[in-house]
Amino acid sequence: MSEVLVKNYDTEKLIKESGYDDHFHEHHHGDKYQSNFIMTYIFSMDHKIIARQFLITGMIWALIGAAMSIIFRLQLGFPDSNMAWLKPLLGKWINMDNGVGTLDPNFYYALVTMHGTIIVFMVLTAGLSGTFSNLLIPLQLGARDMASPFMNMLSYWFFFLSSVIMFYSLFIATGPFSGGWTGYPPLSALPQASDGSGAGATLWIVSLVFFVVSVLLGGVNYITTVLNLRTKGMSLWRMPLTIWAFFITAIIGLLSFPVLASAFFLLTFDRSLGTSFFLNEIVIKGQILDYAGGSPILFQHLFWFLGHPEVYIIILPAMGLTSEVLSVHARKPIFGYRAMVISILAIAFLSFIVWAHHMFMAGVNPFISNIFVIFTLIIAVPSAVKVFNWITTLYGGNIRLNTPMLFAIGFVSLFISGGLTGIFLGNSAIDIQLHDTYFVIAHFHIVMGVAAFFGMFAGIYHWYPKMFGRFMNETLGKIHFWGTMIGAYAIFWPMHYTGLAGVPRRYYKFDIFDAFGQFTELNMFITVSAAIVFGLQVLFVINFFRSIWFGRKVKSINPWGANTLEWTTPIHAGHGNWPGNLPTVHRWAYDYGKDGYEFIPQHVPVSEDESEVH
């Protein structure tokens, strides 16, 4: 066994002597906008505060979205039970009959719809990418802030506005939108189609339009910052994989979200101006409507042109965070750095040409489906490259099994399990049996729902010391991990079986289907598991907020022994991130275990006897 050497360096001295002087602190107005409470914590333009705003708003949404899933899981697991005890919370959505309360079916659909919308957009897009792109892009690239801090602030406040509108829609008399998170017409286009299709759908569309604005403002900033504000020596091929992931995510978002805006634009025309873009010869309640010539499939094309890239907008940041956390806590360079970057690019490219695999059964020409099948299955290649590289990074590593590392390893596990079922669903022939069943639910919840949450948790536990100057409680973190890991499989594994048996998704109850009676106990088991996992997330939230004030304090600026630049800033980094010069970069971010040294950070100059330089 060779001895592990520790590289001697003095960060403060290095930055002072060989850092890049951009004269930032000579402009005394630089700190002006942080002079009072409101400008510092509310209308802040500092990327670190904005990151925390995104994170905490996302966490509130996550609790709301998850609580909704518990309510509809109660309905699915215990359809005959008395839900009167939920009346204080849900009010008129619990129908009372002789003292027995049942969940209103319309509200069941609203819950399913809002659960999807909230988790996909509010939590896993804004809460995940918004948080970590904001926190890490300037810090890991050696930039003072985003290219336009003002636009960055707007990006958060558009998200906030969008959140307020979505939240408000939960409380209106006709209930929130209930036509599914995909918003397919005619349910989304005709106000008379269902309770939620009226004001609920209007608010849903308006909220998501503001959400698109927020994503675009953020994305423009992320891309510009990555390409223009990297510190001296930080070439693109030296960027940490986190930054590559956020950068490509922003590009995907910028190219796909506007198409969703177009779809909503046409949908609004159909709703308000009587056009027939998506509507054709419809009869509602015996009344023949005046629409002719539209095509609901057209909306599906436009929606999934965003919708499919959207799943990569969700998963790529989680992949980036996982890559970084795995490498730091395995004390090994990431295996195949360039292959990792190229597979991110390949996934991004492919994400734009597979959207119709969501529509195999919607009346798309089967010959066109073939092309989408092929491209869909090709995504398995870059995905497999990434999984292989994560596992080889772990292989032979000096692994620290702390909470962030556990979540990162959990991410890899979930991504494999969920990815394999993707190969089933990518085949249009198998999709004839599996489409719109619980098999689909199980697939996407594991591969992009729970997995993305695991990436996010890994990121939160790992960068918490950077965000708040304290650590989260490790014991609670481990309970959170093991409970969620086992619980997630307990919830979604059985759904594969119900799905294979043909149990359709989005149904309120199955009592008239004798064939599905065999799953009654299984459904109870899923519901109980879901409730326990929800409790563990509450535990996480408690740990999160408690640690802000009572967590163990961070003593050194680089507590994990990581190589990236965010760990060269002071523990409580002020405005401009570095008090003096900007650090300059001399190497890539993955010099772990090189030449016997445990780690050599990016800002340490290359010495003459080093074996290879990246």
Partner: protein
């Protein structure tokens, strides 16, 4: 606003970051119209499609917006040369032409409607209204930008600085963009009908 020093001496890129950010935003606007025009193509291929001629006003407005773009171009050229009078003149002219574009578009919609192409009729007509309407919304944004330019031209003392030139150029890039966008959309709609 931004207090961050945006240009570093070691940066190889000559492009100003704000300009770069604008180009990135334009890419997303292009995607929006690409979505609409491909929806147009897909819907047209499905049949039950009414073909009609574009109103003449749409052609006039194309000429007007090109002239407006040229005015902005000449205004900035005059600014660079330090010719205050021409700079102000062309800037006002550009804004007036921008307004005229909007009026012509509105007249165009009225003509369409009078000719029996209602907004809630056959989807081919609805698409023309939707596409030209969304474009007009982007032109309105451009007019607001031009008005700010005019306001600044008349309220600040004339001085040629790098900072102001960049502001002007960014405004101009957007205006040229909505100009070219209309030419593309008009050509697209004529070609598809």
């Amino acid at each position: 606003m931004s207090n961050i020093k945006l240009t570093n001496s070691y940066n190889r890129s000559k492009l100003h970051p704000h300009k770069f950010a604008l180009y990135v935003s334009l890419a997303s606007i292009i995607m929006m119209f690409a979505g609409l025009t491909s929806a147009f193509v897909v819907r047209r291929a499905a049949g039950n499609w009414l073909e009609f001629y574009m109103p003449n006003q749409f052609y006039y407005s194309a000429v007007v917006i090109v002239l407006s773009s040229l005015s902005v171009h000449f205004s900035i050229r005059a600014y660079k040369k330090g010719n205050e009078a021409l700079y102000k003149l062309f800037m006002i002219l550009a804004a007036i032409l921008g307004f005229s574009f909007m009026i012509l578009q509105y007249q165009g919609w009225l003509t369409l409607d009078a000719g029996g192409i209602a907004i809630d009729g056959n989807p081919s007509g609805s698409f023309v209204y939707a596409i030209s309407g969304l474009h007009a919304a982007h032109v309105l944004g451009g007019i607001a930008v031009l008005l700010v330019c005019v306001l600044r031209a008349f309220t600040t003392t004339f001085k040629v600085t790098e900072r102001r030139l960049i502001r002007l150029e960014i405004s101009a890039i957007y205006w040229h963009f909505v100009d070219i966008l209309w030419l593309y959309l008009l050509f697209f709609m004529i070609w598809q009908m």
